[in-house]
Amino acid sequence: MIRFESVTKRFRGGGIAVDALDLEAPTGKITVLVGPSGCGKTTSLRMVNRMVEPTSGRIWLDDRDTAKVRPATLRRGIGYVIQQAGLFPHRTVVDNVATVPVLLGLPRRDARRQALDLLERVGLPRELGERYPAQLSGGQQQRVGVARALAADPPVMLMDEPFSAVDPVVRAQLQDEFLRLQGELGKTILFVTHDIDEAIKLGDQVAVLRTGGRLAQVATPAELLSHPADAFVAGFVGRDRGYRALGFAAAGELPLAHEPVVTVGDALAATPPRAVDGWALVVDAERRPLGWLAVGGLGEAQLSGPVVEDLLNLGGTLATESGTLREALDAALSSPSGRGVIVDEDGRFAGTVTASEVLTRIERRASVLRQEAIESAAAEVIALQP
């Protein structure tokens, strides 16, 4: 657990960077600090490992007052992933990763062996170990940065915009792997970003800071989207938050429609009876959906030979039965046939839903939430009356 107790930072000659911050980052969870540029995110992060000393207030790591620990000792026990990776250009990848274990006195050979294992853990081939950072792509460097922070197996990690310097596709990939890794490791993580989408995707808890270093709201991502505390948070969380909030709403049991399927390799001539409104769903031998076949447009002459993957429309996204309303709605909206494909846990075809069926679900859920909101607002008003 990391606990900020009324922490303020006033830089000499500057204004207040962080203003009376009270925040607790619970053990084993990801707490994201998000806010506009210059709102004091990095400063807050750096006060935890004393790279910046607070002007007033205390920061606790479990029951240890960080001000009472020697900075170098404190830092060796806290993983830190710096923006732009910040790798040492004069050391090989493996020696970069081995940095903290070596500082802690582990023999270099052992530290290196362990570093190679860590490279695999963050999704890099061991052969990259002998390269220098300048010989890696941006995404690879970020992974090495994460491996380096994990090397001494610290219980606490500080991450300052670790995925900001890469393109959106790589970023999404790094985020997914980071979540998978955290699922295995369960570190206590304080994560800084200025990207609200990243905050919502990664955070167990999200703390929104406003300019001047004041905390605007701390909440779970779902709560942040559905109940922004004020106009600033609402504006920061963004426009399509109503839609994005569906990403936190379990789809529950959707009314799945049965759909005849075509197996890849079947004769094209056999497909028309299995198409609905001109579209047939094609699956592989394991009943995993591959794509849609536009049967309606094909004349008798073209219906020869087998069904091959080249013929398929791959536009539709898949949603899982245990997924969210957002996934289900997206599956329906993106499907060329208008019927969203739902799969089971093993990726096998389970059934289809239409957008209007998903919307009915969404509307039903919203009306429950509205009722709850009315009741809690009423309770608040009653509590405020003398």
Binding site: L74, R76, Y80, G86, L87, A134
Partner: protein, 216 residues
């Protein structure tokens, strides 16, 4: 007198001359580097010391070498023909050349890298010797190469004040009004400068395999 006969005539002196020339060029280089490192570090560490340090050493570099060779005995209490004068003068030049380069080299290490080192738990000392200095090696090394070549050529000037070393060939050549010894001397100094340069380059490459492309 041709190239060869002069060398034969002085074959007994050559080893001694070469040795004197080598250490006159090398020792000031090492001592100068040893002095420039802490001064350069100070200039990079405390910003306000940078202008006075760099200006002072810069002015030192503008003093003509001959003047320095002649003035130093008075300052040091040495005899006018003492080799110590030459060694001290060359050390001064090396320091003059390197202080700014060391300071700039150390400052050129990116703040991201330095922050990363601090965040990993390096003490200030470990960070200087483990991160900052190794990263500055190619820059400082490049400065050292310039200083080495300039030292070698300054040693030849020092022959005018009578220290017996390879520079003697120029004096002899001019006294005898013959080209042979002068060409001999020229070849000797060029070879010496190339050897110094090559050795330092080798040192940089060994210490900084990561900077291969940058040096090519």
């Amino acid at each position: 007198m041709n190239l060869w006969s002069y060398l034969q005539q002085h074959s007994g002196d050559l080893a001694g001359w070469t040795w004197t020339t080598v250490w006159l060029a090398a020792l000031p280089l090492l001592v100068g580097l040893a002095i420039a490192l802490p001064l350069g570090w100070l200039a990079s560490r405390l910003r306000w010391t940078y202008p006075p340090l760099v200006t002072a050493t810069g002015i030192l570099y503008t003093i003509p070498s001959l003047v320095l060779f002649i003035v130093l005995p008075g300052l040091l209490g040495t005899r006018i023909l003492d080799t110590v004068n030459v060694a001290v003068a060359l050390t001064a030049y090396t320091v003059a050349l390197l202080v700014r380069i060391v300071a700039d080299g150390l400052s050129s290490v990116s703040t991201t890298t330095l922050s990363a080192a601090s965040a990993m738990g390096y003490t200030a000392r470990q960070r200087l010797f483990g991160v900052q200095l190794p990263i500055a090696v190619p820059v400082i090394g490049a400065g050292l190469r310039v200083a080495a070549v300039s030292n070698v050529s300054l040693v030849s000037v020092a022959s005018i004040i009578g220290v017996p070393q390879l520079g003697r060939m120029f004096i002899d050549g001019s006294n005898l009004s013959t080209l042979g010894p002068i060409v001999d001397g020229l070849i000797a100094f060029v070879v010496l400068a190339l050897v110094f340069d090559g050795l330092i380059l080798l040192g940089i490459r060994t210490l900084s395999p990561w900077a291969k492309q940058a040096l090519a």
